[in-house]
């Protein structure tokens, strides 16, 4: 009784995301919290339902537990509908054993049977680590109008950054005539966003073809697309002009979060017409104390702010103690920061407890201090579930390390970890 689907989406959510360091130590990249309320995958899944796509396969592989239980059957995005649905697609064992997904194209290849049962005309390939709002139905319309074999969503990037992307050269009707992965001397500044619409029969044939190529890395950007170009197939570019960010590194993750605070962010999460849905936790409204100050920040549910918060994003359930200053920071759910502390340009992982008087501020040193703390180009990242307040354990070492060596301030007056120094700074906030 399954009716034919015009288009289904396959969402690649299995990558390790190692460039996000401690942020993906315990969870898959798409499950990393974002923007004081969301997880990264909320954007792609909300885009799907807002574009009228009700059938989504999510390819998982790396530490998927939290991602799986977060997604469930897609109820949070109304994807648990009778007709379609959300399907988790981990690698699996067959009669002759199992295969891990060895590349983006291989992940789709191993799920050809899954796609075939819906007998779709088109397949949309998405990544689970992009922050953007997009109506895929407009891209599909373009795909149909051009009678394309594949349509690739592209965005203009600054010329000086073009050498970091897969760059498309198009002719006047939008047909892709050349594709170069990270070109030294780019002829274009149209970068691939890693979002593809394929005619399913064509993609299927290309995937099967690619599998027999022993030299292939089974990757869309590196193998499938260049081969299609070689075979003179119809590749078209779809120009996307709104906000889009790949949050594959700590730096881009940090700046995408901070973009939400700049008054002019093109990604309007306050826009009701294409809501970003997420799993809602049962937190109460947040409380801003009598002595608190909150300035240019996003504050999530259930926070208790007794200190000062500036240019920061606080996820649900964060506690900021009295006389503590939090500035330019992203604080993950359930973090507790004690009193009279100072946090600057940092990302603090879920459920971590920062002790009273602690100083967590960006360091200008390159070394990796200790496994639970990382420095990514001046952004301090602290892992999940660490209790620095527990002075009895070996966490004390970390605390001392943070305070005394690693976490020197980048502020002009420096950071020597002294309490008086900190008091003075707090007053001039």
């Amino acid at each position: 009784m399954q009716k034919r689907k015009e288009m289904l989406a396959m969402l690649l959510a299995g990558g390790q995301g190692s460039r996000l360091g401690l942020l993906t130590k315990h969870i898959a990249k798409p499950a990393v919290p974002f923007g004081g309320k969301y997880r990264i995958i909320d954007f792609s899944l909300s885009n799907c339902i807002n574009s009228g796509i009700d059938t989504v396969g999510v390819l998982t592989q790396y530490k998927p537990f939290i991602l799986n239980s977060y997604i469930g059957i897609g109820s949070a995005w109304d994807l648990d509908c009778g007709n379609g649905g959300l399907f988790l697609l981990p690698p699996y064992a067959r009669e002759k054993g199992g295969h891990w997904y060895s590349g983006t194209a291989d992940a789709i290849y191993q799920n050809i049977d899954f796609i075939d049962q819906f007998n779709p005309e088109y397949v949309l390939i998405l990544s689970g680590d992009h922050i953007y709002k997009m109506d895929y139905s407009l891209m599909l319309q373009c795909h149909k109008e051009k009678n394309a074999d594949v349509t690739i969503s592209v965005i203009e990037v600054p010329w000086e950054e073009a050498n970091r992307f897969g760059i498309m050269e198009t002719n006047s009707e939008g047909k892709i005539i050349q594709f170069a992965e990270k070109p030294q001397n780019p002829n274009s500044n149209l970068a691939s966003m890693g979002i593809y619409i394929f005619k399913w029969p064509i993609l299927k044939e290309c995937l099967i073809n690619d599998q027999s190529d022993a030299n292939s890395q089974n990757d869309f950007g590196k193998n499938i697309i260049p081969k299609m170009l070689d075979r003179k197939m119809r590749l078209f570019a779809y120009h996307f002009k709104d906000y889009w960010k790949d949050v594959g590194t700590v730096e881009s993750y940090f700046s995408a979060n901070m973009d939400l605070l700049s008054g002019e962010s093109e990604l309007n999460i306050f826009d009701d017409s294409a809501k970003i849905y997420s799993v809602n936790s049962a937190h109460p409204p947040h409380y801003i104390g009598s002595q608190a100050e909150v300035d240019n920040s996003l504050i999530g549910k259930g926070c208790q702010i007794l200190g000062k918060v500036k240019n920061s994003i606080l996820s649900p359930g964060v506690y900021v103690g009295p006389e503590t200053i939090v500035e330019d920071a992203i604080i993950m759910p359930g973090v507790r920061i004690g009193k009279e502390g100072y946090v600057k340009k940092a990302i603090i992982g879920e459920q971590t407890f920062i002790q009273d008087y602690a100083q967590v501020c960006a360091a200008d040193i390159k070394e990796q201090p200790i496994s639970e703390v990382e420095n990514h180009s001046g952004i301090i990242v602290i892992g999940n579930h660490i209790d620095f307040s527990n002075n009895g354990t070996n966490h004390k070492t970390i605390v001392d390390f943070c305070n005394k060596k690693c976490l020197r301030s980048v502020m002009d007056e420096g950071c020597n970890g002294s309490y008086n120094q900190h008091q003075k700074r707090r007053k001039t906030f």
């Binding site: 849905y277 809602n280 409380y287 104390g289 996003l298 259930g302 208790q304």
Partner: protein, 372 residues
């Protein structure tokens, strides 16, 4: 508590709340920045492990049904048991306390028959607390009680707060000797919390006597049977607030700005569930200044806010001064507005330059969807 079911009755005496109940029942009055009154008792019930819950609906219940929806947020969208709406065909207003009009229950007697649980908790919807019912059930069993009524000792009573309360007179062993409807007759300050537990079979027997006697007031019936029935009072000593007037509504909202009470009520024994809403986090502008306030999500704040409660999607413009206010969902406050001691219902639009000041003991109430 697999062996316990719950009935939530809808308080009908709403004269002193009428400014908030134009198009909603008491159970659906917004409270605490994000909740409806019923969320508290419903979360208590669910978190205590009760899975079979009947809610008596009388009138103006559409918004309540919308609020509860499929019951998903309370994990009540189950195959077995779950959430049942029980229509009262009785539209008469009934003034006796504990607010259990047994006709409403009798009207749904087949639901009682069909249920399998041994015990039943009957509760009103207008008490705010965060409580686990396990100790109550333990107490009920230990005392071999027939009916156990929850109560709270209130030492700072004012007639204004407790004008419609029941007080429990009891002996030293917590056995209730009489339930009295006014403070003057009360021998103690033990205020009934409008919640009792009894066996389902006993409730069915009581309903039988109602048919025979024509008396449908549970309190009357209990008072007439204090010797034959073992009625005990179980003391609750956590935070609890009883909402029975605009005065108490305002007072208890302001009370939860106390961080201790906020923590006890929301992060205490368990979580309080409510209808899911997909709103972004709240945005504080560079120009905002917020102190001692409870703020829900999806708000955008540019002006000054102090000692106030903002529900979701409230927008506060530049140079506003909001003090001691409750602003419900979707309130749009333009620039240069002054508000003090004001309760603003849902979907209100306050235009630039407005000045509104109520008295602390008698706040101004702005009706839903007003434009001012």
């Amino acid at each position: 508590m697999k062996d316990v079911m719950a009935l939530i009755t809808n308080t009908k005496s709403e004269e002193k709340l009428s400014r908030l109940t134009q198009d909603r029942c008491i159970a659906d009055i917004p409270f605490g920045g994000n909740y409806s009154l019923i969320d508290f008792v419903l979360s208590n019930v669910v978190n205590s492990g009760i899975r079979n819950i009947g809610i008596i609906i009388t009138h103006k219940y559409r918004s309540l049904m919308y609020h509860l929806g499929s019951g998903k947020e309370w994990s009540l969208d189950t195959k077995r048991d779950g959430l049942f709406f029980l229509p009262s065909n009785n539209h008469q207003v009934f003034h006796k306390p504990l607010h259990v009009d047994l006709r409403d229950i009798y009207n749904n007697i087949d639901y009682l028959h069909k249920s399998t649980q041994k015990y039943i908790v009957i509760s009103g919807a207008n008490v705010i607390c965060n409580m686990d019912y396990h100790p109550l059930l333990e107490f009920h069993k230990r005392k071999e009680s027939d009916v156990t009524i929850l109560h709270k000792k209130e030492n700072e009573l004012t007639p204004e707060d407790y004008f419609d309360c029941d007080f429990l007179n009891m002996d030293s062993n917590h056995r209730v000797t009489r339930i009295v409807g006014s403070f003057d007759e009360a021998t103690t300050h033990n205020v009934s919390m409008e919640l009792c537990i009894l066996e389902r079979e006993l409730l069915l027997k009581i309903l039988d006597t109602c048919i025979a006697s024509g008396n449908w007031d549970l309190i009357d019936i209990l008072n007439e049977n204090t010797e034959t029935l073992k009625i005990y009072a179980y003391p609750y000593d956590g935070y609890a607030a009883r909402i029975n007037s605009v005065h108490s509504y305002y007072k208890h909202n302001m009370e939860i700005l106390n961080p201790d009470i906020w923590e006890k009520l929301f992060l205490g024994t368990h979580l309080i569930y409510t209808r899911t809403k997909d709103n972004p986090p709240t945005k504080y502008d560079k120009t905002s200044s917020v102190h001692n306030s409870l703020v829900s999500f999806g708000c955008a704040i540019k002006g000054e806010v102090k000692n106030s409660i903002l529900f979701r999607e409230v927008k506060i413009g530049h140079n506003c001064n909001v003090k001691n206010c409750i602003i419900m969902q979707n309130g749009l406050i333009e620039d240069n507005v002054f508000l003090e001691n004001v309760i603003i219902d849902k979907d209100v639009y306050i235009k630039s330059g407005t000045y509104l000041q109520g008295k602390a003991e008698d706040p101004v109430v702005i009706a839903k969807k007003s434009v001012i």
